[in-house]
């Protein structure tokens, strides 16, 4: 119960802080919106309709969740370092990885705002019929996807702790993940060597589950894989963070130089 309270309180605090940031709050809403608008126009130009257009709308809207996490998660620990709070996080009497869960979950939650905004934008500006076949399963799929992307963000955050300009890495992996996780392009349309990479990325399963729920197919298998991959990120993140904290204690520093 104490751990849940820790995650909930820290998530709410981080969410309020990020909502007031122009970069994390405003740009996380607008940036995927520019791409979604372009994509809606492309599909309209290709005379897409019905399920194809709905599928594009779901994929475009989910882009915002990843977009809100990729750059900010990669830079999260550099920001803590810059603010002088990284030492406090490492010294806190809780596992370091656990303290990062609410941080990256708050980013993914902002992405969920972006997702709703993009779906509304598609409905209002492009007249896309957002008829979700199984709304309850769709909402569950969104929640699981937000959680899974948050966990992936945590892994990225911990892995990039020694990379001073990690924001550039986070920014650079934004579009590759949109592409190889099948947000808008069927995985089968990608080169065969990409598919194993898609399979180990949780967003692939999350987006597939959302799309299945929206079009009336069963999302449960995809949701299971999404949770499994997210859990494996958590395990890896715990191991990496233990090694990182041990190294910091042994060297008596968290500084990069």
């Amino acid at each position: 119960m104490r751990l849940l309270r820790l995650v909930a309180v820290a998530w709410w605090l981080q969410l309020k802080m990020r909502s007031r940031s122009a970069f994390d709050g405003l740009l996380s809403l607008l940036w995927p919106g520019f791409f979604a608008t372009t994509i809606f126009m492309m599909f309209r130009q290709g005379d897409a309709s019905g399920p194809a257009l709905l599928s594009a709308a779901v994929g475009s809207s989910a882009m915002g969740i990843w977009s809100a996490v990729s750059t900010t998660a990669a830079f999260a620990l550099q920001m803590e370092r810059r603010q002088g709070t990284l030492e406090l996080l490492v010294l806190a009497p809780q596992p370091f990885a656990l303290l990062l869960v609410p941080l990256t979950l708050s980013m993914a939650t902002i992405g969920a705002y972006s997702m709703v905004a993009t779906l509304l934008w598609g409905r209002i500006a492009f007249g896309i019929d957002i008829s979700i076949a199984d709304p309850a399963a769709f909402v569950l799929a969104v929640i699981v996807t937000v959680f899974a992307i948050g966990m992936l963000g945590m892994l990225i955050a911990i892995s990039s702790i020694r990379y001073r300009t990690a924001w550039a890495l986070g920014s650079a992996i934004e579009m590759p993940v949109w592409l190889i996780c099948g947000f808008l392009v069927a995985i089968n349309d990608l080169p065969a060597w990409v598919r194993p990479l898609s399979a180990v990325l949780a967003p692939t399963w999350g987006v597939a589950a959302m799309r299945a729920a929206a079009t009336g197919h069963s999302p449960w298998a995809n949701l299971g894989w999404c949770l499994l991959t997210a859990a494996s990120y958590g395990v890896i993140a715990v191991l990496v963070s233990r090694w990182m904290v041990h190294s910091a204690r042994a060297n008596a520093t968290l500084a990069l130089s």
């Binding site: 607008l30 372009t38 492309m42 130009q45 897409a48 920014s171 650079a172 592409l179 808008l184």
Partner: protein
């Protein structure tokens, strides 16, 4: 002579000092990796949506990536000075403003040009898109025109940075606007009328259109009108930027503060 020195030497020093993206740890992912994946993303989406050909998306997305350094580096000419604490020194200096800021634009233009050329060449090789050697010269001229015009818009952004602290957010919004409106992934002619109207006033629109024509085999002379319009737009935004800089600088002196809050 002093102005020439300020233009060339000052511009180069400022670019190296203020544009922190020249580190290979930023340069490689931002200028080499990201543009290629933007091209791949839209090529595959285009195939899924059943519109246009790979070459259309290759050209649009390669050329628009020239805007990344043009917008962000120019924004940093003021934003970077503010972060470094040297903005008051810059404003107080007796240097002529036109060579000072246009000199800062020159390396940025070259940077934007090289980013777009790299994305176009490597993208064409990886996607096996045929760009005949006879078209290379004309395409290079068109990309250079796009880099120049976009740097003009970046100079306007630099002026706004005297009052807006979040220059990265502002530059991202401008870049997103170009991706939607400038005919990068959807031909301008396929857009609603009001969007076509906006597109005509944006850098990149005419340059990207000219690049498509050149890649299709048209001569440089036949697209000279589009390229001239592109350059005139760049000059328009640069003039607007220099004027705004002068006015905001005057206001800063009158109010005795450079703080934006």
């Amino acid at each position: 002579m002093n102005s020439l020195r300020l233009f060339f030497v000052g511009g180069l020093i400022s670019y190296r000092a203020l544009f922190g993206w020249l580190s290979p740890w930023i340069l490689v992912p931002t200028f080499l990796f990201a543009p290629l994946f933007q091209i791949f993303l839209f090529v595959y989406i285009g195939r899924t949506a059943g519109v246009n050909d790979d070459r259309f998306f290759l050209i649009g997305n390669a050329v628009v990536n020239a805007a990344v350094p043009c917008l962000f580096a120019m924004g940093n000419t003021i934003g970077g000075e503010r972060n470094a604490g040297t903005l008051p020194l810059l404003i107080a200096s007796p240097a002529k403003r036109v060579p000072l800021f246009l000199g800062r634009a020159l390396p940025v233009i070259l940077n934007g040009f090289l980013v777009a050329v790299f994305a176009l060449v490597v993208g064409a090789l990886l996607l096996r898109v045929d760009l005949p050697p006879a078209t290379w010269g004309g395409i290079a001229v068109a990309i250079a025109a796009c880099s120049i015009s976009c740097t003009g818009l970046g100079l306007l952004g630099a002026a706004v940075a005297l009052r807006v602290r979040e220059t990265a957010v502002m530059s991202n919004i401008v870049l997103g606007t170009l991706i939607v409106f400038a005919g990068v992934n959807v031909p301008v002619t396929a857009m609603p009328g009001w969007m076509q109207g906006v597109a005509q006033w944006l850098p990149m629109t005419h340059g990207i259109h000219a690049t498509h024509d050149l890649a299709a085999g048209r001569s440089l002379g036949s697209v000279s009108g589009a390229l001239l319009t592109e350059l005139l737009l760049g000059a328009f935004y640069a003039t607007l930027g220099l004027t705004l800089l002068r006015w905001l600088e005057w206001e800063s002196r009158a109010r005795a503060t450079l703080d934006t809050a």
